[in-house]
Amino acid sequence: MPEASGAAASPWQANEHGTVRLIAAEAALAPGAPIHLGVEFRTAPGWHVYWKNPGDAGFPPRVDLIAPVEWVGNDPAIEIEFPAPRRFSLPGGLFAIGYEGEVVYPLAPLGTRPLSNPAGAGGVRIEVEVDYLTCEIDCVPYRYRLALDLPIAQNSTLDSDSAPRLDRAVLSLPRRDGTLPGVAIRAELAHRSAEALVVEIEGVAASPASDLFVEPQELFEIGRPALSPLPSGVRFALPLVPRRTDVPLPETFSLAFTAVGLVHAGAPIALEARRELGPGSSEAVAPTPWLAILLATFAAVLTAVAMALLAKEPGSLVRGLLGFAALGLVVACLRLLVDRVTPLGLAGIELALLGLGFGLWLRRRMAGREAARP
């Protein structure tokens, strides 16, 4: 059986927002051997398809098995695996979670049940129906039947084009908690003015793409995480707002989450974990944000110092340089604060600094006027 590249794939179904097809890792199938399928999307630039939790809008693809009928169980839906996603910002502060460009969703292996007439037509036709939504800011739902034909052979063989594609997709799936040496995940509920989920991952480094997503659940509205570095890891803090207040939160509940854009041993990875949490079960209290308070205070003092250095008459080069260096440090403090406070908090701190500058300027002006008085 020669390896036929591209044979283990359905034709592409195309629309103006992207294309989709079914691929199989196997080029030929031995009777009773499992078959590994994937649904491959290529979205148009700016358009995306969804993760298992789509975010504020949308829904993940659904794949139903149509043929062979012998493999269709009571529920035709085939389980989908989801590669590490990313976040898309939408107008109004909304966001979506998904994929843009090329993405392959691996499907749970099929085909261990024997076919009634395996070699009848010299092969087997695998057909699925895929339902999906693709959005840019606008959204368009699509539904296609995708089919591919595989020959039956003594032994299963791999397709030279589809198999590596599926392999890459499987490798890009988030790693399960506990499967990476040296990586530890800790999650707890923190109570400040609002509920927050704090996830600390040791043994990884952050990257600009680091993000954390929670799997579908109906207890909370979940916001964007604040990311802060740990000495040997990263810390995510996600605001959680209960969706009901008429009934108390359950004593314990389970949240599953996926952290993406992490670096482990020099390679990019994503991690997934599930944790039992609960207001009753957790005694953990978030550390007082001393560091943030310290940084804000430091920024304020530095601003005052910079003002004093820069405004002093007569000016000197050294004093000027020191003044600008102090202002540079203020900017550095604000940059460090970005990860620790909400945008509103940062705006407050900046306003306070502005107020400080204004106050000092006013005082100097008054003093100047008094000095000018005969």
Partner: protein, 202 residues
């Protein structure tokens, strides 16, 4: 001494700003809480406020005719069937589309779309998106039930069939279930679900 005072005052101010600002970054109204009041104009420029319907069950449907999900539900008469079934319930569509977005429809176009689909309930414009944000409306459709006491009783999807693949009678319509429970004096279950559809075009 004076300078020290200013520095200390500013440091205190900065700390205060930080503490005050630690509020949740996500806005939405929880089931069991008082539904945010609003006063909005409908497509015929008639004003509706939530207050004027106090004592009645009110359904709020976030709507956008240009969104395939709103349009499908309109064509399938999902909402209008419920307004017929629950005649005593106040049903309000709310369109929070930003007037600068291409999906924004002028009243005449909006009315003709409603008429074509047999929609006779009022649809309100929320051009600033303020009411949408107050409720945490995310999708079209996104459904809310406000009970007779003005509290939120349901927040979520219209039904359990995002892709619309099921036959209509086979769908679990959460708003139908919620209104039935409310009218029977029972607890709404489920009271929260994940809404699906297009994002609201704020």
């Amino acid at each position: 001494m004076n300078k020290l005072r200013i520095v200390l005052a500013t440091a205190a101010l900065a700390t205060l700003a930080f503490v005050v600002a630690r509020e949740p970054a996500v806005a939405s109204v929880a089931v069991g809480e008082v539904a945010p009041a609003f006063k909005l104009n409908d497509l015929t420029a008639k004003a509706h406020s939530l207050d004027q319907y106090k004592g009645k069950l009110v359904v709020l449907e976030w709507i956008n005719p240009e969104c395939p999900f709103s349009d499908r539900q309109a064509r399938e008469k999902t909402m209008t069937d419920l307004t017929r079934k629950f005649g005593q319930v106040v049903w309000l569509g709310i369109n929070s589309t930003n007037p600068k977005h291409q999906d924004y429809l002028q009243p005449a176009e909006h009315l003709s779309w409603a008429k074509k689909n047999g929609i006779d309930y009022s649809i309100l414009y929320d051009p600033t998106g303020g009411v949408g944000h107050a409720y945490g409306a995310k999708t079209t459709p996104h459904m809310f039930i406000v009970d007779a006491s003005g509290k939120l009783a349901y927040n979520g999807a219209i039904d359990d069939d995002p892709s619309g693949r099921k036959a209509k009678p086979a769908r679990l319509n959460y708003v139908d279930g919620g209104l039935t429970a409310e009218l029977a004096g029972k607890a709404v279950a489920p009271a929260v679900t994940q809404p699906y559809g297009c994002s609201v075009k704020y």
